[in-house]
Symmetry: C2
Subunit: 334 residues, 2 copies
DNA sequence: ATGAAAGCGCTAACAC
DNA sequence: GTGTTAGCGCTTTCAT
C-alpha cells in the first residue's frame, strides 16, 4: 500500500496524491475528491521515512532529558509534545540517565533520525557534540547553559528571584540557621541554585555556615541522607532549602523519622513545584519552576529557528516564584 | 555526507560500506579497516530513514501509554527503553491522554513510522485499530486486555492475589468497614481491580457496602474528593483500598485535612507501588505491580514475535504482591 | 569478498 | 492544475 497504488486507483499521478495529502499546492476539488476516496478505500497512510527522505524534513524535534523517571521531565515532555503536535511536529525523547557518555548516543540518535531541532534539557553536555549539531544546521535550545549563538537558543531560568523570595520568607519567619541541600555537583543548574542561595543569604547579612551545606543527588534518598547528617549536628538548622522537590521529600521523611515535625521543628522549602508537592504532608512550600512555560519556550525557539530561518538564537528569561504552603513556619522560640 | 562519499573515500562500493556498518556479511579485514577509517574521517553516520526505507525494518518499537505524567508509565518506559537499546532497538512513545479518540492518532503514527511492534499499555483500545496493526503483521502486546492471538500477546496481571493479601492483611487487623475507591469506570483494569476487591471481600464473608464504593480517577484529586465524601458519612470506614497510589495519596491528604490520622483513625492501602509511596508520610502499604517485569515481558513478547517469527502470541502472567508499610494498622477500638 | 544496480515510498522541480 | 521524473540514502539481490 503506497502512494502509487492510490494514484492508480484515483487515476492521477503520484505527485497529485502527494499534493492533496500535504496540501502544498491547490488541486481541483474534483480530483481531490477522487484522491481522498481512493485513500480511504485503500486505507492508505504515508510512510514517514520515505517522506523524510524525500523532503529532508523529519517534522520531528528531539528532546534530550536526564531521566524520564524524574517528575520534572514528564511535565516538560508532555507540554512539549502537545505544542509540537499542534504544529504538526512530533517528539523524539532520549534519556541520558545522567551519564555524560550517554549524551553522545542521544545526539547521534537525533542526527540519525534527522530531527529538525533538539531541546537539550540536561547538562551532561559536551561542546564537541554541540558542534556536531551546529555543523548540520540543526537548531538547538538549551536549558540553563547560557550560551546563545547561531542556531542555538537558551532558556535562562532566573533562580535568584525565587530563591531570594524563599530566603526572605524564611527570614521573615525568624530563621537564620538555614541549611541548603544541593543537587549533584556535576549538574550546573544545581550549582547555580546553590550559588543563588549563598548570594541571597549574604545579601541578607546572614553568614552561610559551610556545615549547613550538604550535597544531595536530586533524588529522595539523597535528601534523606543529607538531612540525616544535618540532624546529627549539635546545632541543627531551623530551616532547610532543598535543591529540588524530590530532595525536599527526602528531607521531610528524615525529619519525621527523627521524631521531629515540619514546620514546627524545622521548616522545609523545595524547588521545582512538581505536582505532588501540594499534596505532601505538609503541603510543600517551594520555588516554582514553570515547566509548561519552559516547554513552550523551547518549542518556540526551535520552531522559529527551523521555520522562519531566524538563524540567530535568542535568550528567553523565565522567572521562578515562591509558592508558600505549609512546610514553612515561624522559628520555634527556644 | 552519505554512504556514497564514504565508499568513494574508501575506494569501495556502497554495498561494502553497508556491509561493514551492519556486519551482515563478512568483509576482508583490509577493506573493513579502510572503510572504518573513512567513516571516522568523514564523521559519517547512517540516515535511519533511508535505512528503514531500504530494509523495511525500523528497529523501533512503539509504546502507547495514557499519560507520561502518571508515575506508573515513566517506569515502564524507562525499563522498556533500556532493554530495547540493549537489543539494538529504539522506542517511540505516544500518549493518548486518556482519550480514546487519540488512540487512533497514536496507532496511525506507529504505522507511519513503521514500528516493528507495539506495546499498548492503555485501555482506550478499539478493535478496529488492532485489525489495522494485525493486517500489517505488526506484533502487539497488550497489558491486561486478555485477547491473545496471531501476533498479539498479552500481559496478564493477577490483581486478585495482591488484593486478596491486602484484604487479608486488613482483616487480620480487625477491619471490616473497608471502602474502595476505584479508578475511572472506563478503564478496564480499574474495573478488574474493583471486581477483585468485591470478590475478595465476599470470600472473607464481609458484605460489601455499596456506599463504601466510590469512584476516583486515578489522580490525586479524585482520591481526595472520593475520600472527602466518605468522611461525610455517619459511619465512616476504618480502612480504604485505593485503585492506585496516586488515589491513595489523595485519600491520605483528605484524611489529614479532616484532622484524622493514618493509620490510627483510618488505614489506607494503595495500588501500584510507585517509587514515591515508600517515602510518603506514613509510608504507604500498597499492592505492588512490578513495572520492570511488565516492561521486560512486553519487550520479550514483541521481540520474539518480530524476530523468531513466533507468530502466535502468548500470555504472560505477572503476580502482584502486598507491600506492608505504615499506612495500615489495627482498627481502633471504639 | 566485492561491485552493479534495482528498488524502498515519497517529494520537488520542471514541463505542459 | 496535473503529470513526468529525478533524486533522497540506504539495503539487497544478483553477478562475478
Amino acid at each position: 500500500m503506497n502512494i502509487r497504488e492510490v494514484a492508480k486507483r484515483a487515476g492521477v499521478s503520484t505527485a497529485t496524491v502527494s499534493r492533496v495529502v500535504n496540501g502544498t499546492v491547490p488541486v481541483s476539488t474534483h480530483t481531490e475528491r477522487r484522491v481522498r476516496s481512493a485513500i480511504k478505500a485503500l486505507g492508505y497512510y504515508p510512510n514517514s521515512h520515505a517522506r523524510t527522505l524525500g523532503s529532508g524534513k523529519s517534522h520531528m524535534y528531539g528532546l534530550i532529558i536526564s531521566d524520564i523517571t524524574n517528575p520534572f521531565f514528564p511535565d516538560i515532555a508532555k507540554g512539549f509534545e502537545r505544542i509540537a503536535v499542534e504544529h504538526g511536529q512530533e517528539l523524539l525523547i532520549a534519556n541520558t540517565d545522567y551519564q555524560p557518555q550517554r549524551m553522545q548516543v542521544c545526539v547521534r540518535r537525533m542526527l540519525e533520525r534527522k530531527v529538525d531541532g533538539v531541546a537539550i534539557m540536561t547538562s551532561e553536555m559536551d561542546q564537541q557534540l554541540i558542534q556536531l549539531l551546529n555543523k548540520r544546521g540543526i537548531p538547538i535550545v538549551f536549558l540553563d547553559t547560557g550560551k546563545v549563538g547561531r542556531m542555538t537558543s537558551n532558556i535562562f531560568i532566573d533562580y535568584d528571584i525565587g530563591i531570594e523570595h524563599a530566603i526572605a520568607h524564611l527570614a521573615s519567619l525568624g530563621h537564620e540557621r538555614i541549611a541548603f541541600i544541593s543537587g549533584p555537583p556535576t549538574l550546573p543548574s544545581a550549582q547555580t541554585r546553590k550559588d543563588a542561595f549563598l548570594r541571597s543569604l549574604k545579601n541578607r547579612g546572614i553568614k552561610p555556615r559551610p556545615d549547613y551545606m550538604k550535597t544531595g543527588n536530586h533524588h529522595i534518598d539523597g535528601g534523606q541522607s543529607a538531612m540525616a547528617q544535618l540532624l546529627k549536628m549539635s546545632t541543627i538548622p531551623t530551616a532547610v532549602l532543598a535543591s529540588n522537590d524530590l530532595t525536599a521529600i527526602g528531607v521531610i521523611g528524615a525529619i519525621h523519622a527523627a521524631g521531629l515535625r515540619v514546620p514546627d521543628d524545622i521548616s522545609v522549602v523545595g524547588f521545582d513545584d512538581i505536582e505532588l508537592s501540594q499534596y505532601l504532608q505538609p503541603p510543600l512550600t517551594t520555588v516554582r519552576v514553570p515547566r509548561m512555560e519552559i516547554a513552550s519556550r523551547a518549542f518556540t525557539a526551535l520552531y522559529a529557528a527551523s521555520h522562519k530561518g531566524a538563524d540567530h538564537g535568542i535568550e528567553y528569561q523565565i522567572a521562578t516564584e515562591l509558592v508558600i504552603r505549609q512546610s514553612t513556619g515561624p522559628v520555634r522560640s527556644v
